[in-house]
């Protein structure tokens, strides 16, 4: 039986370090190549030695696919391609290809320059790595080699995020990456056609959550910002540079536009600015509203949002500032926070999750007095708000995607084991497909039942379909033909042609059967009776009475002879070729029942 093997090197029952190996029909594909946020040692990258101990990875992998630019999906890429060594193709979408190096460079800077690590990939390595990347378009079928093809679908989540279908022959796997089934202010919802893959590898971050409508959260967010600004307060929104920041920018920008507000909005320069540039370029990847209005105005050409300068923080009057990093642990956001924390008119809105130990986490858990470096005590008087804007599919969304794609098997990654367990059970129960959730390093084998395409000669096809078109054309249909397996190709041809091609002589196979009937009459009378009887029953067939007394039903021959010993018994000889087996055996059984007593 052919099989598909899946081994997560990362993201198996875990979030972070996404890296999944798939072998399908002799091809090996690596899906994502991410790093783990939680570790600073070797564990932060996937263990590529699993693939091969010695020898280059290029020989073992046919291609690498990156779903989107988040570091937990692409962070290990330069390490993998340049330091471990991989020269094969790397596939990602155009926006991912554009934004990915910026993030990698940023990540490198923080690790090398700030933390002072050595033995880390260099800027040059990032550049070299990006040279190996092949960019793909949505719904474009890319032939990796003659058999392996991949195709990207829109996934929402972040700009350029894609789901990938990997297909070899009739077997296929869909890898979702991270995706979002509800649209947000700048991106649309994930969508896939009914591609019926053998296996769907889905993320399951929110396996046990069904989320509330996004509108309430947006409304709350806007209301809070609006109220604070109207009071004359300042709003600080610490964000990660990419993704949510753009969504919130669009949200505030349109709100400002709608409500005719005048208070300035700033975002801290650096990463965001560069990224905004790409958001402007890749309009086709955004949602309906932005795509429709961009003829008049590109929504990312912000009218109200300006670049932030350090000096602005001391300006009087209301303002809104987006600043990095998102957890308030360092950098500009922390500086601004310290300046503004003392005034109760101000507000800080945390739009995402904060790791324990960061200032963000502390203030969210209600701490009002913070000890800063240098033994300073900072009293937080400003309002602290939490708004969760997350772009992963919730349990309902995951189920919806499964319903759309109709896979034969589902495999869950990128989530916590306990939560996956619940979702797995639900999937099995509601779709009646088997569901897997391997841990890191654990291999799951899925048996597939691929269909094998066979060429049929046109003549045969026409001949066979011409025999009574069945009303139920969708049902499988019985066909007579000869399967020829020759030179690694399959062909279905008519028996005559097969004989001719193989140089074989045709043999006839005939079944004969004798049926005894008690009938005192003469032979030809018996024959006539049999003829009348059959004619009465088999209305749709051509039943003929030949001059020599024998009867033919289609090509079946029936002869009546007197029994050599007992003249009262007549022997009916029924003879048919094996092609007519069905009709032949039916006839014999019919005759065995005897003739009707009348006449």
């Amino acid at each position: 039986m052919p099989e598909i093997k899946v081994t997560p090197l990362g993201a198996g029952q875990d979030v972070g370090r996404s890296c999944i190996l798939v072998s399908i029909a002799g091809k090996n594909v690596m899906l994502d190549c991410g790093m783990h946020m939680g570790y600073n040692d070797d564990r932060r990258f996937p263990d590529f030695s699993y693939i091969t101990q010695n020898g280059r990875l290029t020989d073992f992998l046919d291609c690498v696919i990156i779903s989107h630019f988040h570091l937990d999906h692409c962070g290990a890429l330069p390490y993998f391609s340049e330091m471990v060594g991989y020269d094969g193709p790397i596939y990602m979408t155009h926006p991912t290809k554009a934004i990915c190096p910026i993030l990698l460079e940023d990540y490198r800077k923080i690790t090398v320059d700030k933390k002072g690590e050595t033995n880390f990939f260099t800027s040059q390595m990032i550049k070299d790595c990006m040279k190996k990347v092949v960019a793909v378009h949505l719904h474009q079928t890319v032939q990796v080699d003659e058999e392996l093809e991949i195709k990207a679908y829109y996934a929402g989540h972040v700009l350029g995020a894609a789901m990938f279908q990997i297909k070899v022959g009739c077997e296929s796997v869909v890898y979702t990456g991270d995706y979002n089934m509800t649209p947000d202010r700048h991106l649309g919802a994930a969508w896939i056609d009914k591609c019926r893959p053998d296996l769907l590898i889905s993320e399951s971050t929110y396996a046990t959550t069904i989320r509330d409508s996004k509108r309430c959260r947006e409304r709350d967010f806007l209301k809070k910002v609006h109220e604070t600004v109207e009071r004359g307060g300042k709003v600080l929104i610490p964000v990660f540079a990419l993704g949510r920041a753009q969504e919130l920018c669009i949200l505030l920008e349109t709100f400002w536009e709608r409500m005719n507000l005048k208070a300035p909005i700033y975002f801290s320069t650096g990463l965001t600015e560069k990224a905004n540039h790409y958001y402007k370029l890749f309009i086709t990847w955004t949602n309906q509203k932005i795509r429709k209005t961009f003829v008049q105005r590109n929504m990312f050409e912000f009218k109200h949002i300006k670049a932030f300068d350090r000096a602005f923080a001391d300006n009087p009057g209301p303002m809104v500032v987006f600043a990095t990093p998102g957890m308030l642990h360092a950098g500009q956001s922390l500086q601004i926070f310290r300046k503004w924390a003392g005034n109760e008119k101000n507000m800080v809105i945390m739009p995402g999750y904060c790791v324990q130990g960061t200032v963000g986490h502390k203030i969210l858990s209600g701490q009002r007095k913070l000890e800063m470096e240098g033994r300073q005590i900072l009293e937080v008087k400003m309002q602290v708000e939490y708004m969760s804007f997350s772009a992963h599919a919730d349990a309902k969304g995951i189920m919806q995607l499964i319903r759309q794609a109709e896979p034969r098997n589902v495999l869950l990654v990128h989530g916590e084991a306990k939560k996956m367990e619940f979702l797995k059970q639900k999937i099995e129960q509601e779709f009646h497909v088997s569901c897997y959730m391997p841990a890191n390093g654990e291999t799951t084998t899925i048996l597939t039942n691929p269909c094998i395409p066979v060429d049929i000669s046109l003549g045969l096809l026409k001949r066979e379909t011409a025999i009574g078109p069945s009303p139920d054309a969708k049902k499988p249909k019985l066909m007579h033909g000869t399967l020829l397996m020759k030179d690694n190709s399959f062909r279905l041809v008519s028996p005559e042609q097969a004989l001719k091609e193989l140089g074989l002589a045709e043999h006839q196979l005939r079944f004969t059967c004798r049926v005894h009937i008690q009938d005192p009459r003469k032979e030809h009378e018996t024959g006539l009776r049999v003829y009348n009887h059959l004619k009465g029953i088999l209305k749709d067939y051509s039943v003929q009475h030949l001059p020599d007394g024998s009867i033919t039903v289609e090509s079946i021959l029936i002869q009546a002879t007197a029994h050599s010993e007992d003249q009262g018994t007549k022997v009916l000889l029924v003879s048919w070729t094996y092609q007519d087996e069905e009709l032949g055996s039916y006839l014999t059984s019919l005759l065995k029942k005897g003739l009707p007593q009348s006449t």
């Binding site: 509800t182 649209p183 202010r185 649309g188 919802a189 969508w191 896939i192 056609d193 009914k194 046990t208 959550t209 069904i210 989320r211 509330d212 409508s213 996004k214 509108r215 309430c216 959260r217 947006e218 409304r219 709350d220 806007l222 209301k223 809070k224 609006h226 349109t254 536009e257 709608r258 409500m259 005719n260 949602n287 309906q288 509203k289 969210l364 858990s365 209600g366 309002q383 602290v384 708000e385 939490y386 349990a395 309902k396 189920m399 919806q400 319903r403 759309q404 939560k419 619940f422 059970q425 639900k426 509601e430 379909t465 078109p469 009303p471 139920d472 054309a473 969708k474």
Partner: protein
């Protein structure tokens, strides 16, 4: 005129040799199939007259049998269809031939086309069941064809022509009276999605034609919902909906369990499921249909709004639920507590259904959809369901309120309208009101106005709510001062709906103090007026309220009652002798005093016959003044008052012009007299046009009087000209023309003539035989005496009369910055105007631009530029293109709205043909354009522009 052309061309064609013969010759000449095709194509461009259709068909058919090329046969087949559509031609004579052609046809495309032709023939013969039966039989025969196109057409044919009444079918046919439904149903499983779609469509077609579909189809249709193709799913959703309306109460089993539910509930669940389909076309379809499933049980309905939130396997309350709880417990929203949305109870993992929960959260999904088309459809559906179920209305409120923040304006607007429609069923909570009011700051005027309309009919539960609404409306007022009228109106209704809630707020709103006198607020402040409007309207049904007013409030009441009478109701104020409130209620409690006043003054005028000319003039002048004043005060009566005032004005002018003294003066003074009389005649003409076209609700009774007045004006004109011009020649023409007019007046209003005893026209018609024969000078003399002797006609007033008004909001005309543009190029000027009581604004409203050099430009706005926010109201948002040669300094141009009219066409009720967007007024040949004249009906707005010379 066009009709004439048609007729003449037709005559010409009939003299030509028959078209069929020409075609025959052409086709015989054709050497190759391509040639023949060309001939046919040319032939198809011209229509064929009814008489020769049959001949042409015969020739085509003859050629059809000879033709070997499939494409030519295809064209012939399609031509047959076209020809059978010819009006007046009965295609039953060619039916047999058409059916015969099917027999030997091999090409699938041609077959499909032939079936299409048969369909046309069949639809042309609705009264002939046997023909239909035959066609259906033919179609059934071809259902087994291997081409999808042929099967498609067959199904379409069966759907359109299949027998609808079962009884007839049984009698007419024995074996072929197969159940049409079954035949179509068999093709639900066809291998081609297009055929499947066609089958479902055919089924729907049968339903539309009145056949009751069998319930057995339901299960088949449900299977089709999971089809791979969106057209099939979309059609299947419709079919399910139809079935659910046909058999709402039947019971269907739930698969994989022993339970049974009503069919309509099951169908509802299934359609809800389709709201999260992969294709947005299907989603829109499903969301739309949900709205019309009103029989669904409330238990199912309410599920659509509940997504059953959970977080980490623990049940979570939605933000809506939390908000509700906060308010019902009387606590204020903190919103600041970290984790106040923390999930509470544990969920039994087995009981959670993630996907098969049917209706669960369908609307939540629909309202969150990516495509705004789906969202709008969902909002509409919500609206329809909420209108029929008050409890559902209450529940969906939160969701609708959320939609007020949608990113697409259309969706926001739609949800505001929806909310207004269901507002009878709901009371807004304070937090909801808060969200609703936040939208008041929206920069779109449409949205704000829609919201004002909504607030007019909302119920608010607390006095804080009222206060909040007032504060927000005042904020809106300061931000967008142009919203003034709309806000006042909104507060009027808010006040009259919630008198008891306003009562405790009064001291605060009026800032009165028990001990100190507070300064008197500025009476011209729109915000203060807004507050007073709210309070006075509340006081109407709350007699204790006036006790809280301070002195100046009463004075302000008197002032506002006078100046803004449509917003301030009459109040019964204790100890105050206000004239209007003291007198009117006692005399006629039922009739409005101002209405009465109007009638009284009119009656007085109509009885003036006995007065001397001087007295008549004075009386008229006074009455006109009174009426004009009344119109300003009472907006409801403004139309009526203006209309009558205009009429009286005409009469006054006529009387003045006819004054004996003037006509008797010596020749040298003719000039002066002439100027006065001709000016009067001209003005009367203008006024009559205004009366006829500027008022909506004018009935034919009034039209007669108006036309009569116009006739008088024309007579006056004739007299004046006769007296001033020398020579008789020009007079002949004029007299003749005038007599023609009289004649046409008689023809148009013959039914009204009995009511016009003693009037000008009545007398004129008596003298008609004499007039026709007499010389012009005689005619003039007669006219003059009749004019003077004729009586003044009463103007009956219609029930409702409104004067068309327009108000240009933008440009405001206040800008000092000239609009600079390069001469020779165009600049677009945004024009935003509100129109009231304009009938057919698309056809009649024009924008006029008047340049300083006197050049006028008339612009016809596109029909799409007009919006209809409410009955009788329109809003024109358009762009006007300006251009001019270079000026040395900026200058002002005038922009004005005009009402175009055409007195000839007004009766015939034909629309004025649209012409190109921009034509200068002078160049208009009135007969062609259909515009006879224009009436300015808005104040001109000045725009400062500066065309700069082009730089070289």
């Amino acid at each position: 005129q066009q009709q004439h052309e048609d007729l003449s061309t037709k005559k010409l064609r009939l003299t030509k040799p028959s078209k069929s013969a020409a075609l025959h010759v052409d086709l015989c000449k054709a050497t190759s199939p391509a040639d023949a095709l060309q001939y046919l194509l040319q032939f198809a461009r011209k229509p064929v007259e009814v008489e020769s259709v049959e001949g042409v068909v015969r020739i085509l058919l003859e050629h059809y049998y000879k033709e070997n090329d499939a494409s030519v046969r295809l064209k012939i087949a399609s031509l047959l269809g076209l020809l059978s559509k010819t009006a007046g031609f009965s295609p039953d004579c060619i039916m047999d031939d058409a059916i015969n052609t099917l027999q030997n046809e091999k090409s699938h495309q041609v077959l499909a086309q032939l079936l299409d032709t048969l369909l046309v023939i069949g639809t042309k013969l609705p009264e002939n069941p046997s023909v239909r039966m035959r066609l259906v039989e033919v179609a059934c025969k071809h259902l087994t064809d291997s081409s999808h196109g042929v099967r498609n057409k067959c199904l379409q044919l069966i759907g359109c022509l299949g027998p609808v009444e079962k009884g007839v079918a049984k009698e007419a046919e024995s074996q072929a009276a197969k159940d049409v439904q079954k035949i179509i149903g068999d093709h639900f499983n066809d291998q081609d999605p297009r055929v499947r779609t066609a089958a479902i469509k055919a089924m729907l077609q049968l339903h539309e034609r009145g056949l009751k579909l069998q319930q057995a189809i339901y299960s088949q249709a449900c299977k089709l919902l999971a089809d791979d193709y969106e057209q099939v799913r979309s059609a299947a959703v419709q079919l399910i909906w139809v079935l659910s309306q046909l058999y709402p109460e039947s019971i269907v089993p739930i698969p994989s369990s022993n339970e049974e539910i009503r069919l309509v509930d099951d169908a509802f669940g299934k359609i809800c499921h389709m709201v999260s389909d992969g294709s947005w076309v299907v989603r829109v379809q499903a969301a739309k249909l949900l709205g019309s499933m009103q029989q669904v049980s409330s238990h199912f309905l309410e599920q659509t709004l509940d997504k059953k939130l959970m977080s980490d396997l623990r049940r979570k309350r939605t933000a809506h639920e939390r908000a509700k709880e906060l308010y019902s417990s009387g606590e204020f929203s903190s919103g600041r507590k970290w984790g106040d949305d923390a999930p509470k109870e544990e969920i039994d993992t087995g009981a959670v259904n993630l996907i098969e929960s049917g209706a669960c959260g369908a609307f939540v999904h629909g309202l969150e959809d990516e495509m705004y088309e789906v969202r709008i459809a969902a909002v509409e559906a919500l609206c329809m369901l909420a209108q029929s179920s008050p409890s559902f209305a209450e529940k969906c409120l939160d969701f609708l309120v959320d939609m007020f923040n949608d990113e697409i304006e259309e969706v926001r607007l739609q949800s505001i309208h929806t909310m207004r429609k269901i507002s009878n069923n709901i009371t807004l909570r304070e937090d909801q009101l808060d969200t609703v009011l936040a939208v008041l700051e929206d920069s779109s005027r449409d949205i704000r106005e829609a919201l004002h309309e909504l607030l007019c009919c909302t119920n608010v539960s607390t006095k804080e709510g009222i206060h909040l609404a007032l504060v927000e409306l005042l904020k809106n007022l300061t931000k967008y001062p142009t919203d003034r009228e709309s806000i006042w109106k909104c507060l009027k209704f808010l006040g009259s709906r919630h008198p008891t809630l306003v009562l405790p707020l009064v001291p605060e709103l009026l800032s009165t103090h028990p001990f100190f006198d507070t300064p008197e607020p500025d009476m011209d402040d729109p915000a203060y007026i807004a507050v007073l409007v709210l309070i006075f309207n509340a006081a109407k049904s709350c007699p204790t309220m006036p006790a809280l007013f301070s002195d100046h409030t009463f004075r302000h009441y008197a002032y506002l009652r006078d100046s803004l009478s449509h917003l301030v109701p009459p109040l019964r104020l204790p100890g105050r002798k206000l004239v209007s409130s003291a007198v009117s209620p006692s005399i006629t409690p039922h009739e409005d005093p101002s209405q009465q006043f109007l009638h009284q003054s009119l009656e007085r005028v109509y009885n003036f016959q006995h007065l001397d000319p001087q007295g008549i003039q004075e009386l008229l002048e006074f009455t006109i003044r009174d009426l004009q004043r009344l119109g300003e005060l009472q907006s409801e009566l403004a139309g009526m008052a203006d209309f009558t005032a205009t009429y009286l004005q005409c009469q006054l002018l006529l009387i003045k012009a006819l004054q004996e003294k003037l006509w008797n003066v010596a020749a040298p003074l003719y000039l002066k007299q002439n100027a006065l009389a001709s000016a009067a005649a001209k003005q009367i003409l203008e006024e009559t046009y205004k009366m006829e076209f500027m008022y909506s609700g004018v009935e034919s009774r009034q039209v007669v009087i108006i036309h009569h007045m116009r006739l008088q004006a024309k007579a006056l004109q004739l007299i004046v000209t006769a007296r001033t011009t020398r020579g008789v020649e020009p007079l002949f023409g004029m007299c003749e023309k005038f007599l023609q007019e009289v004649d046409s007046f008689q023809r148009c209003f013959i039914s009204e003539l009995p009511h016009m005893q003693g009037s000008f026209v009545d007398k004129l018609l008596d003298l008609m035989p004499r007039l026709v024969t007499s010389k012009p000078s005689e005619v003039v003399k007669i006219l003059q005496t009749t004019l003077r002797q004729s009586t003044f006609l009463h103007l009956p007033l219609p029930e409702q009369l409104h004067r068309a008004t327009a108000n240009i909001i933008e440009p405001t005309g206040e800008s000092d910055n000239p609009l600079r543009f390069t001469s020779g190029l165009v600049v677009a000027l945004d024009v935003d105007a509100t129109l009231e009581h304009v009938q057919d604004p698309q056809g009649t409203v024009k924008v006029q631009v008047l340049y300083p050099d006197g050049q006028a430009q008339l612009i016809h706005p596109k029909p799409a530029d007009f919006r209809n926010p409410g009955p009788g109201r329109h809003r024109l948002i358009t762009q006007v293109y300006l251009s001019h040669t270079a000026w040395t300094e900026p200058c002002q141009i005038e922009v004005q709205l005009l009402l175009a009219y055409n007195s000839n066409k007004s009766k015939a009720s034909t629309r004025i043909p649209k012409s190109t967007w921009n034509e200068s007024l002078e160049a208009l040949p009135p007969s062609e354009n259909g515009i006879e004249g224009t009436i300015p009906f808005s104040k001109p707005v000045k725009v400062y522009i500066m065309p700069k010379p082009a730089r070289r």
